[in-house]
Symmetry: C2
Subunit: 407 residues, 2 copies
């Protein structure tokens, strides 16, 4: 079948970042083979029963009954304001004292990152990212023309020695130091790693020394079901260099598409000017009422239980099914773990075979900003979405695919 030619009539009118990638994105996509019967370990979807549906129905009824004329209007009313209060209270519980002026509620965390990138990144500016890191964030930073440089990460999170070496090398070469470091310090996507307290201190010191800002994407921090959390970077910082990004996608539901930014006032003020358009005050009001009615904490408790069971099921299945030469991370929270398959496996190349055997995943190399071949043997596995029984089936299928591939 002949493929239809791309319509190129308007190509010259695109902005340069768009023109540069007309033949395909610069970074690994999240496309996955269509495999209806395969167990999907691909995406970071919450499990279907996790959603507090009845509570959201009740909250919607309440806010529309009590203040529809504000809820549905530009700007919102009392309940939208209570969402702000509720988020500030949760930040406070994490050790972060932010004022109302330092909080910006956004249409989701990815859009929050886009607004931050728009505020700081001129095309060609250097931004440091973890290597590997969340592919979608790479695309967002790329949209704003950022030049991305990866910094190595291990089981203890971002490696401050590697970070320092990168910064020193740039300085020695007379290159400008980066404006931003984008990091996911808690239950990192894709590895599940959490940055240790000692490393947090070093990262903050380096930010001051080399004069950059830290964008801390904290999508998973509240989802710790075992162990102890180090304080968030922002709670350890008094310089105002840490910009936090949060979301309720993992603690309430992705569909309500609500995230936030906490940043020092001079930064928040300018980020606010780059947020295009108003926010969804209908949803904000529903969430404000939801939090006000006391549902946030109990739902989170229930989710921790659900995610811990799923992580346990996946770890157990990995132990029982995977061939010798495999290894994996053992995160104490979040949605993902990072598996490394035996020598000789190319997880990207193996993906169609895996789908045939009954499992899909995101190949590791897609999460790296360069083509150094790191991650070739690895994959991100999501334990958030499937039932424990499905997770077992999925890992068994991964084991079969690996054995067939190596055979």
């Amino acid at each position: 079948m002949a493929e239809q030619a791309r319509d190129e009539r308007f190509d010259h009118l695109f902005a340069s970042t768009v023109r540069d990638r007309l033949d395909g994105g610069r970074y690994g996509g999240s496309a996955s083979p269509a495999a209806e019967d395969a167990v999907p370990l691909t995406y970071g979807f919450p499990y279907p029963e996790s959603f507090p549906t009845a509570e959201l129905v009740a909250a919607t009824e309440t806010v529309l009954e009590e203040e529809a004329a504000d809820v549905l209007q530009y700007g919102g009313g009392e309940y939208a304001e209570r969402l702000h209060d509720g988020l500030l209270a949760r930040e406070h519980d994490r050790g972060i004292d932010a004022s109302r002026e330092e909080l910006i509620v956004t249409n989701g965390a990815t859009y929050a990152l886009d607004a931050i990138a728009s505020t700081f990144v001129d095309p060609g500016d250097e931004v440091l990212v973890e290597s590997p890191t969340f592919v979608w964030s790479l695309s967002v930073l790329d949209n704003r023309g950022a030049e991305l440089t990866g910094v190595a990460l291990d089981d203890n999170g971002l490696d401050p020695d590697a970070l320092e070496a990168t910064l020193e090398a740039r300085e020695a070469a007379g290159e400008p130091t980066p404006k931003l470091l984008y990091t996911i310090p808690e239950f990192q996507n894709p590895t599940g790693a959490t940055l240790t307290r000692e490393r947090r201190e070093r990262v903050l010191e380096l930010a001051a020394e080399y004069d950059f800002l830290i964008v801390a994407d904290d999508a998973y921090g509240e989802l710790r079901f075992a162990g102890e959390s180090p304080p968030p970077l922002a709670a350890m910082d008094d310089s105002g260099r840490v910009i936090r990004v949060g979301t309720v996608s993992k603690t309430i539901a992705p569909g309500v598409r609500t995230g936030w930014i906490v940043a020092a006032e001079p930064l928040a003020e300018q980020i606010g000017t780059m947020v295009a358009g108003g926010t969804n005050t209908f949803t904000q009001s529903v969430l404000g009422r939801y939090i006000d009615a006391g549902h946030y904490g109990p739902t989170l408790e229930r989710l921790l239980d659900g995610y811990e069971k799923r992580r346990d099921a996946m770890l157990d299945a990995l132990e029982r099914h995977l061939p010798a030469g495999s290894s994996w991370t053992e995160p104490e929270g979040g949605f993902f773990l990072w598996v490394t398959l035996p020598e000789g496996v190319d997880a990207e190349e193996m993906l169609p075979l895996a789908a045939e055997e009954g499992v899909t995943y995101l190949p590791g190399e897609r999460f790296f900003v360069d083509d150094s071949g790191r991650g070739t043997r690895s994959a991100r596995l999501s334990f958030s979405h499937c039932s424990p029984a499905e997770l077992d089936e999925g890992i068994a299928a991964l084991a079969r695919a690996t054995e067939r591939y190596l055979d």
Copy 2:
């Protein structure tokens, strides 16, 4: 009281568009004096009773009862898809045959414009706008580094002669022609003017001749309560050069923060890559159900009646109260009219006095991209928000302020 100094520690880290306007925005803001007792003719808010509250409650209950696991998940389910079907059907009724691939649902129309600007505008690129035009759109285009040039507009909308003269002059000077023309063809914000059919044809011809795209912001087109609409630009175009922006903010409610883009597929495909993050599938599902249940048309009929009454009340009050030497537009739909006060009035300077007398508005000069002083005597008046009795009070206050100012 000493004003606190701005914290300038991080100024050097901002992107250049942000740095360039640290001392204040380049375009007129929408700030208005605090005047609690004044009649607000300032903002384009729908009137409170316009909202279909009961229908939205019912729609929320239905979608969460029938498919909560999809509604609250990434991607959405059947009802989010029905919103797409419903919007395509409404576009079809306006004469536009768009495919599913040519429709992008966004978190509101302003964000839609931001995604379009991000797709086409490199910093320094020329973008043409109507003069006057919607201030918030100016900020969004400015955020993406656009150089804005105003094109004159009169009671029949954008002036094609002025447009052609601008394009010819640029070409003669060896300057690049603009990539985009941003226009509000229906019940323009701020003037209420609608582009005539003949002018639409000329604008389309000029787009082909000078090779630019037209962004047609159609926030108000469905709100015609008198007269006949010319076809939308996209319905008259077969070149694929028209990008439409729509919103339900004026036909359902601003708080649900949902807009859309319709563009030819090669454009839509790239715009889609610049839309950061997912959309609010909770809200989309509610709106999909709302449309599916047949509420869109009947609500719109009710709103037309409400807005026509308000426009009539405002026209009547202008006639009765304003001093000789005043004039105003008489739009057949939308939210706004444009008043021009007698010689000697500076509407910006008069605003505090007007607030004292009991009315607020947005001064005309804020809607112009240059400082040519056009609009000094003018103001945008919104008839969408207040009751007919309040509108009368507000215009009486405007008349008193004008007389005191000129006295």
